[in-house]
């Protein structure tokens, strides 16, 4: 019990951050008329691709002698970009 409490208060910044972001996400969508939801989500291309930032970050930290990691990282960045660009251009 005490463990959990401490965990919560240690990560409180993060928890507030998550709670507030969830509210923002829900409120932004909630205010939009129903018929526009689908265009909205299919339009949120760029935001969907945010995982690419993580892929790049991992790539920058990679051990350059580890070929397997390099290949995986390359693939990750490639796939992330594909997702982003394919959707942005495609729309």
């Amino acid at each position: 019990m005490e463990n959990i409490l401490n965990l919560i208060s240690e990560h409180r910044e993060m928890i507030y951050f998550v709670v507030l972001s969830v509210f923002v996400g829900v409120e932004v969508i909630g205010g939009v008329p129903t018929v526009l939801h689908t265009p909205l989500m299919s339009g949120a291309n760029a935001i969907h691709g945010v995982v690419i930032v993580g892929a790049i970050y991992v790539m920058l930290n990679v051990d350059p002698t580890n070929i397997a990691a390099l290949i995986l990282g390359f693939l990750a960045v490639l796939l992330g970009t594909l997702k982003c660009s394919g959707r942005v251009c495609g729309n």
């Binding site: 993060m14 951050f17 998550v18 972001s21 969830v22 923002v24 996400g25 829900v26 932004v28 969508i29 205010g31 939009v32 129903t34 018929v35 526009l36 939801h37 689908t38 265009p39 909205l40 989500m41 339009g43 949120a44 291309n45 760029a46 935001i47 969907h48 691709g49 945010v50 995982v51 930032v53 993580g54 892929a55 790049i56 970050y57 991992v58 790539m59 920058l60 930290n61 990679v62 350059p64 390099l70 995986l72 990282g73 390359f74 990750a76 960045v77 490639l78 796939l79 992330g80 970009t81 594909l82 997702k83 982003c84 660009s85 394919g86 959707r87 942005v88 251009c89 495609g90 729309n91």
Partner: protein, 470 residues
């Protein structure tokens, strides 16, 4: 210094995401909102590449660390390749194939998250919190990847029928439990056992497949949207791991907005989420409740062309069949030809036409039909009495007068498009079979109605050719 700048670029990026998402909620500002969000995204990517600084465990900058040129090369190569391929694919592929394409690209995002998890795992051995975040991101990414591939195959038509595996529920539960078990095992018991990690990865992939395989084509949008918000979640876990704020905001925004959206879609379809995911169609087995007396009247392409050519006002009622036939482009062509000839053309958009909220709006917007031509139900209904020809394309329930007349009908009370008030009604569908609600439609037996049988895309294409030759 560098990392301050990076933080600021992330802050700006996060704000553009929120503003962009907000602007996308309005058709007038949607394009701008998308550009703003994309701008924030590019800023964040450039910031990550050029303002990178390695920090040691105490948070001090490790100045001796230099990213080798080769790594930069690989990153730029991947980005360049991804952009070109993504762009080409999106351009070359028929616009009508966008849904499956989007689903494919979603899968890429999931795969990306899964790969990050696989790569990072070994660097965080011993840190239970970080490992949990990695594993959660990896599992969600994998489910989203394999699920999206199945969704792609279904939307694509390769996988036609919803597949009902024997003992599906048991199988599903077993796989779900093993994902959780492997996950807990790998994090808490033997973090250095790579075999279990791969087993987990594998189980998550299988779960994604099982999750998507029994779902019918009409429910695919819901699933796509759900998988989409999964990818967002995976990104958010990454943000948690690296204390990377933009991944957190972006991921949570997509995750929470997407989840809400999924629930709204399910509600609009009148079925709980669990039902869309596990169940069959509620209306699937329904049959016509009462016999409709009367005859139906056929019409051929050339008569239709003549009739439309010499009208003043034509209203097009698009429905699910238009989406199935992917006829949104040719209908736009038809509209333009008629407008050239001085015929006023409008589209009557019923709020639940198609299979998801806004289905018709998205579809027609895709083929660049102007936004003013789409008229909502309440606004178009009074106009039917002054309309010469109504062309119903693959719509059925939304023009069924039983909603007004037959208290026994399952759709009784639903507001419909009052096409009966028009001078002529032409209905295009492939056969006399029923629509989503599984009931017969009296409209087809109306003396003013003529049936134009055939696949919407074929028929409309022929109509366009015919009209051009007039």
């Amino acid at each position: 210094m560098k990392s301050s700048l990076l933080e600021i670029s992330y802050l700006i990026g996060s704000v553009t995401f929120i503003l962009g998402l907000k602007m996308m909620g309005n058709p007038k500002t949607a394009r701008k909102g998308n550009l703003i969000a994309a701008g924030g995204m590019i800023l964040a990517i450039l910031g990550t590449i050029f303002l990178f600084e390695k920090h040691d465990h105490m948070g001090v900058v490790d100045t001796s660390f230099v990213v080798p040129g080769m790594v930069y090369g690989l990153i730029f190569g991947a980005i360049g390749l991804g952009t070109v391929v993504g762009w080409l694919t999106a351009k070359r592929v028929q616009m009508t194939k966008m849904p499956e394409l989007v689903s494919m690209f979603n899968g890429m995002g999931g795969a990306c998250a899964a790969l990050i998890g696989l790569m990072e795992y070994q660097h965080y051995l011993g840190e239970t919190g970080a490992l949990s975040a990695i594993i959660a991101g990896m599992v969600i990414g994998s489910v989203s990847f394999s699920g999206s591939v199945i969704a792609y195959l279904k939307l694509n038509g390769t996988m036609k029928k919803p597949l009902r595996l024997p003992q599906y529920n048991i199988l599903n539960t077993v796989v779900m439990i093993s994902v959780v078990a492997f996950g807990a095992w790998v994090v808490y018991a033997s973090p250095d056992n790579m075999t279990i990690l791969y087993a987990l990865f594998f189980a998550a992939l299988i779960y994604g497949i099982l999750f998507t395989i029994p779902i019918g084509g009409a429910d695919m949008p819901v699933v796509s949207s759900l998988l989409n918000s999964f990818t967002g979640l995976a990104a958010a876990f990454g943000g948690f791991l690296y204390d990377n704020k933009i991944m957190l905001t972006g991921g949570i925004l997509v995750g929470s907005a997407g989840t809400l959206l999924t629930l709204i879609m399910c509600k609009a379809m009148n079925r709980p989420l669990s039902n869309a995911i596990f169940g069959a169609f509620p209306g699937g087995g329904a049959t016509a409740e009462r016999e409709i007396a009367g005859n139906i009247k056929d019409i051929n392409i050339s008569d239709t062309a003549v009739l439309m050519n010499y009208s003043k006002k034509v209203v097009i009622v698009p429905g699910y069949g238009l989406a199935v036939a992917q006829a949104q482009h040719v209908i736009h062509e038809l509209e333009m030809i008629l407008e050239e000839r001085g015929v006023s053309v409008k589209y009557a958009i019923h709020p639940v036409a198609g299979r998801m909220p806004g289905h018709m709006n998205v579809l027609l917007a895709e083929s660049n039909v102007s936004y003013d031509k789409l008229v909502e139900m309440e606004d178009i209904n009074p106009e039917f009495s002054s309309t010469d020809v109504v062309l119903v394309v693959g719509a059925n329930d939304v023009v069924n007068p039983a909603a007004h007349n037959d208290p026994a009908s399952p759709i009784y009370g639903m507001p419909i498009l009052d096409v009966e008030n028009a001078a002529h009604i032409i209905v295009n569908k492939r056969s006399m079979s029923a629509g989503y609600a599984g009931i017969e439609n009296e409209l087809f037996f109306n003396p003013k109605t003529s049936m134009l049988f055939g696949d919407a895309k074929d028929v409309l294409a022929k109509l366009v050719t015919e009209l051009k030759s007039l």
